[in-house]
């Protein structure tokens, strides 16, 4: 899925200007997209993304020096227990089809 399509879904608003998908739902899903895309932690460029992933690493109780593999495994286990918002996920899946 290209960046524009993703942004189009994440940034869609209600008539009152609030976002269709609240901040928390998007923040919860973004590391999953990172995982699926096969990106490397060491290749993350934006500070916002670095902060979000660091926040997740803390949530996953990973030690400060963890490998890419540790992160991927812990994240997969985390999403099994805490799945992303299903409506948002479905919309993303449909956009990919």
């Amino acid at each position: 899925m290209n960046r524009e399509t993703l942004a189009g879904i994440f940034e869609r608003r209600l008539p009152n200007g609030t976002f269709v998908y609240e901040d928390e739902k998007v923040r919860h899903l973004v590391p999953a997209l990172f995982l699926i895309s096969g990106s490397k932690l060491s290749e993350v460029k934006t500070q916002e993304m670095k902060d979000l992933l660091a926040e997740f690493a803390q949530k996953l109780e990973l030690p400060e020096t963890h490998t890419e593999d540790d992160f991927a495994k812990a994240l997969t286990a985390y999403y099994k227990k805490n799945p992303p918002d299903q409506v948002l996920l479905r919309e993303l899946q449909q956009a990919c089809e």
Partner: protein, 440 residues
Amino acid sequence: MNNEPLEEQEKVEQYESLLESSRKEVLEHYARVSARYREAGKNRLACTAWPLRPLFLKKDRLHTIGTALVGQLESCRDVLISFTEDRGSMAKTLNFPLELLKELELETGLGSPDFLSAARPDGFLQADRFVVSEYNVGSGLLATLSYTEVLFELLGEGPLARKLGLKDGNFGRPFQNYLSLLRGRAQSGSAAHIALFSPAEEHKDVYRWEKKLFETLFERNGFTVEFMDEHSLEVDSEKRLISRQTGRTFQLLLQMTTGEYFLQTPNSLRSSNYLRGARAGSVPHLHPLACLLLGKGILPANLGGAGEKSSVRIAEATYPTEEAAPEYRLNKDKYVIKRSWSGKDTVVGCSTGGRAWNRIVAEAINSKDFIVQDYHPLPTTRLPYLVDGKLEYIAVRFELSPFLIEGKYCGSLVRYAPDAEGLRLSPSPPDMGMTIVYAS
């Protein structure tokens, strides 16, 4: 938008051409000024580097703007006085803490000549108008006044000013005007012993950089100063204001608070009665605490202060409401959100992401300590920078801060930074510079 240059181009060209040919002399002069201030920790001001030229603006225009600003501030005082009979309604309208309003002697504070004897509005110079973004009368005033004095030594007493025959008086010298005000109030003729007051909790913030600079500048001009807090001052039975540490009496009390401490702990004034009004015992209290009401939170209540044809106007401002939230969220590029009474948080819609903006809109509505103001891009000009020993001319955006002392325009500070959409200069970005204005 009108793209006519705001500066006097002939003067700018003369100055810059001479700057090219006199670079060595200019840098030697800068080194001398730096050395003079090194002891006060001033190799440079609280910004990137020493500026290389003043802004050249039309004298008549600056004085017209100054007069209109004084009128506008007076109308602001009238708005505040009209509220004083009902402090409950005042607190509700302005979202100002009622507990603090109850502790202040508003009648004497607002009525005092020193409520508005020195002020520094900030704003945007446009081709036809000056748009006020906020007023400053508190802790920032003395800091910026002292900067203008250093900048005058740099630019007004520099080799280029001498060669071009620029007149001292046209730079304004606001710090010297301020000292004249202090001499008059202290009734001391020349020298006076001055208490610079800020609550103990604020000392680190208020004097972080400038304590030594204040001492240097005041003492050079024959004054002595002591940095006081609520524990070190008292008024004795003969109504003298005294330092508990040195036993010396003061002729003036200069209020330097950021307001934060009193906004958070208004009850603290019960043990410092002398801070409530326009005099501390028999001593004049400059910038009395009623000046806290000239924070950004007063702007929505004072929009009527200038007519359509006035040379100044206040940037449209409102107290945020849930009803207006969709407009702020959907048209964020049109707005700026600022703290009303405490802190310096300024969030510019056009340079803030949509989600972050929506969060600040929600906070502004819930906390009630914010205003929403129309966004005005800062005006642009072009200033010389020294980059790797070479002169380069860089497009900058600037904010103009005219000083109004005893009802008269007397010089301006200019803060600038390289051109960028959504740029704001308070709090200061890391690449901000400062200069002064030559009224030509």
